[in-house]
């Protein structure tokens, strides 16, 4: 009996398996504290759906659930770094898997390109982590929050403008 569907290669299966495993592992870092059952079910199901359809918008759900859980519990120790790396790795795996159908073999050169990009994207992670741990928000001037909020709104508007489909 064939273990794989015809045309599906092992690297593709590995990528999709990682899509299921990585968000779950990011949540599992909370052990021995056990997240709420609904959170676990939500992460596992949405990660499974993401593994099945890497090019689908459902992929944002496990990342939001995992990130949200860690934010709610306000953990700022080393595990946040690991969680961030796992979520970025999941994002990169999904991106690699979404270049074509499951019968498209993983291009090694493209994989190397995305490995480098993933590493580059991880650069701000320790910087912000150190900033969050080392800086006291209470000491920041009030205008800084206004500027940050205005910048965020500006970024939202620019992004919305950029991703708007062109008129035909």
């Amino acid at each position: 009996m064939r273990a794989l569907r015809p045309g599906v290669t092992v690297p593709v299966v590995v990528l999709r398996a990682l899509l299921l495993v990585l968000p779950c592992a990011a949540l599992a870092l909370a052990l021995p504290q056990v997240p709420h059952g609904w959170v676990v079910i939500g992460v596992v199901l949405s990660a499974a759906a993401w593994a099945w359809l890497p090019d689908h918008a459902v992929g944002v759900v496990p990342l939001v659930l995992v990130g949200g859980w860690w934010a709610v519990h306000d953990v700022v120790d080393w595990r946040v770094l690991a969680v961030g790396a796992l979520l970025v790795a999941a994002h990169v795996c999904a991106t690699l898997a979404s270049y074509g159908p499951s019968t498209l073999a993983v291009d090694p050169r493209l994989a190397r390109v995305w490995l480098a990009r993933g590493a580059l994207a991880l650069v701000p992670l320790p910087v912000t982590w150190l900033a969050v741990r080392g800086l006291d928000p209470g000491l920041a001037p009030s205008w800084l929050w206004l500027v940050a909020a205005a910048t965020t709104v500006g970024l939202l508007l620019v992004t919305a403008r950029l991703v708007r489909p062109e008129a035909r």
């Binding site: 990130g67 946040v80 074509g100 991880l122």
Partner: protein, 426 residues
């Protein structure tokens, strides 16, 4: 024209980046900012890498006319590759066409060249290949153009060049020049005899040893060399059996068409004139002709043969051929009218050879129940057919199963000998 649209990866990165930052500021959750930071980079670079122009994509086949087993490549042409990082092609699978990559999905970085799809038809006929979907992706997988649907292209697949060769003479060469030894004396190279010199003989034909020995001038006579008219009658009324292409089992029509192609190629290369009559629902007829262009025409006509339930066997094979022609009837001989027409052709003076192309089409598969209804029906059909062929052989028409090279040698030699025997026609 399809424009560039953000990929789900970019949308995901944007949502996580902006949601994380906004949530961090509004809710005071620093962890969200930390986790969102990598996605800010991915979103920003992805957004910035948007290509400006929607490219025009065309796929072209290197060849539109191939023999079975040969291959061609479908190449992609994109007018503007600015900002494009990766190209993915997914071709639809076509019956009897092998594709490389096997499942039709190919992709590569633009820096490595555009991906090609290779097609190799495994069975003669008309095939439609090249229908595919193409997606172009920008750098950082931020934007995607497509999938674009590209139309298919027609591919004429000529029958395989089966190895066929024959050293036998054609029984009744009737042309002007050619490679076959004629029954008539002429200016060939094949020795016919030595006779006394008569007025009008060429001086270069004098054989001096014999002339000196006998004291009288003698000349060497040779046989003329002539070409022959060869008709190929192809039975396209039914296609029995399963066709696995050149790599698998052959149906009756596969055997018929490939045998006809091999015979046509052999005779045209020998210098004979070859004609073709396709007996099918939409039958066709190619008059006698010779040369490479005529061979292409014959192969093209064979590639268009299609069997259909509407086809009925003719009562008479109208070849418009003289009595000197050689007729090869390639058929599994499953229809009585075709057998009758073949017999009447033989009676009209043509040298007819029936090439049996049934193969193993009526054989029961391994492990099948021999008493099951389909197996019984197949055996009855085979018995009826064998009886028809036996009666045809009794009338003087040789029947030989197609076995590739030298299938016809013995039969043609026997026919040639028979043609030399004086006979009385009533």
């Amino acid at each position: 024209m399809t424009s560039w649209r953000p990929t789900p990866a970019l949308v995901r990165a944007c949502l996580l980046a902006l949601g994380g930052i906004a949530g961090g500021i509004v809710l005071g959750q620093e962890v969200l900012v930390v986790l969102a930071a990598p996605f800010v980079v991915l979103a920003a670079v992805g957004l910035a890498s948007r290509p400006r122009q929607a490219p025009r994509v065309v796929a072209r086949l290197d060849h539109h006319r191939l023999h079975e087993g040969q291959g061609t490549t479908s190449r992609l042409e994109v007018d503007d590759l600015t900002g494009v990082e990766h190209v993915t092609r997914v071709g639809t699978r076509t019956a009897h066409v092998a594709t490389s990559p096997t499942y039709g999905a190919a992709g590569s970085l633009v820096a490595d060249g555009l991906p090609g799809l290779e097609f190799s038809p495994r069975r003669w006929g008309r095939r439609s290949v090249g229908a595919e979907r193409v997606a172009l992706t920008s750098a950082w997988a931020g934007w995607r153009c497509g999938p674009l649907d590209l139309p298919e292209s027609g591919l004429v697949v000529l029958p395989q060049r089966a190895p066929y060769d024959s050293r036998a003479e054609v029984p009744q060469p009737d042309g002007l020049v050619g490679r076959h030894r004629s029954r008539r004396v002429g200016s060939g190279t094949e020795l016919e005899g030595i006779r006394p010199f008569v007025a009008g003989d060429r001086l270069k034909r004098i054989t001096w040893p014999v002339s000196l020995r006998t004291g009288e001038l003698h000349v060497v006579t040779t046989r003329a060399e002539q070409d022959a008219g060869v008709w190929l009658v192809v039975d396209g009324l039914r296609d029995l059996g399963v066709s696995g292409g050149i790599d698998g089992a052959a149906s009756t029509l596969d055997l018929t068409v490939r045998a006809a192609a091999a015979l046509a190629e052999h005779h045209v290369r020998t210098g004979d004139r070859v004609g073709l009559l396709v007996v099918a629902a939409d039958g066709s007829r190619v008059p006698l002709g010779s040369g490479p262009r005529h061979l292409q025409r014959l192969h093209g006509t064979l590639a268009r043969v299609r069997s259909g339930a509407r086809g009925t066997a003719p009562e008479r094979l109208d070849l418009g051929a003289g009595t000197g022609s050689v007729v090869h009837v390639l058929s599994p001989m499953l229809f009585t009218p075709l057998v009758t027409a073949t017999a009447s052709l033989q009676r009209r003076g043509a040298s007819v050879v029936v090439i049996d192309t049934l193969g193993g089409a009526l054989d029961a598969p391994e492990g099948a129940d021999r008493l099951a209804l389909p197996a019984l029906a197949a055996r009855m059909r085979r018995i009826e057919r064998d009886d028809r062929l036996r009666r045809l052989a009794e009338l003087g028409t040789p029947v030989v199963p197609w076995r590739g090279a030298r299938t016809l040698d013995t039969v043609l030699q026997q026919l040639a000998r028979r043609e030399r025997v004086p006979k009385v026609r009533t």
